[in-house]
């Protein structure tokens, strides 16, 4: 389950917009909007290219004061949510 090497990427055909440092993503097929807070927005940016949870954490650690182990748990949990909502896919 806890696989920092799995590669994720955004689904094609999604639209999103930035609002004051936060992001709203539209999944047209599901007719649903998904809001991402500040860190979520940064992760969403990193998901523009194929990326692993480990790489995301490395990116975040450079910008935020986070504990690497807790970060990986949080990021994997967040990616699972994005996966379940059809916003990203695992390659």
């Amino acid at each position: 389950m806890r696989d920092p090497e799995a590669v994720y990427q955004r689904q094609a055909d999604l639209s999103w917009t930035e609002m004051d440092g936060e992001t709203v993503v539209l999944n047209v097929d599901a007719n649903d909007y998904f809001g991402l807070g500040g860190v979520g927005t940064r992760i969403w940016e990193l998901l523009a290219r194929p990326v692993t949870a480990g790489q995301i954490c490395a990116g975040l650690a450079a910008e935020y004061d986070v504990d690497a182990d807790a970060c990986l748990d949080d990021v994997l949990g967040f990616l699972a949510q994005l996966l379940a909502s059809g916003m990203i896919r695992q390659r």
């Binding site: 639209s15 999103w16 917009t17 930035e18 609002m19 004051d20 440092g21 936060e22 992001t23 709203v24 539209l26 047209v28 007719n31 909007y33 809001g35 991402l36 807070g37």
Partner: protein, 302 residues
Amino acid sequence: MSGETCYRLFGLIVKSELSLPEALIAPAGVAAHVFVRRDEVDPGGITGARRRGPFVWAAAGVLWFSVPDVARFLVRDGREIIVDARPGVDEDRVRAFLLGSAMGALLAQRGTMVLHGNAIVDDDGCLACVGPSGAGKSTLAAEFMRRGHQVLSDDLVPLDEECRVLPGIPRLKLLPDAVARLQVAAEELRPIRPGLTKFDYPLGAAFATQAIPLRVVYVLARGGRDPGITITTLRGMECLVPLRANTYRVGFVDALGLLPDHLDRCGRLARQAQVKVVSLPSSLPTPAEVVDALLADAAGDN
């Protein structure tokens, strides 16, 4: 059949076979962007399109809708509205839907975001008041006007790419109590639709004819728990839900497959203007009290 006339509304030159007495006449010799024609519209909808509701069909760039006993409308490519009015129906009724729903669909096809409410000119910008039907939006517009503010648009508030509000039709749609406050006899005004007790109040010099940047969107909400009027600024993604809820005919935007474009416009709007919720207490304040609160708030943001 009447001849064609060119009108200027929502930032467009509209050449129409239907007379639009409430709209501004366009200057002579200007090329039209939009054509309104009378013709037959297939009662069965559009072949190859999707049925989006009992009275709505849509395909890319085309929206068909029917108002039973009034007219069928076909809105195409942001350029053309075909009106098929039922025989003998009152022109005022047809025009109410032409200038409302049909123009709303056409503006959506042109990529123009349209809010449902009104826009009032204030210092260095304009303020939009949006909210559900019956929230008293037009009554507020009348109160702003009484205090010397110009009105840009009532009912449809279209925004251009730079989030400026485009001037609409120089009228307010008012209920009789708002008419009384303006001290004009209701008999002098033109009823909007037979059976509907709203009146067209011509704005005259109180109509702003230039596009003006939108500074604040005030979302009116009734039933607040506080005894007074409270105004809360929304941040980030909180802006999306009220902007979507107060988008004019958002169902048409969805049916036309234009929600991605609409989301982009919402983002742009949230970045350039403030979105604020105006919570009105259940003991409804007077229009003067609401306008006082909005102007004080808007002045504080300058």
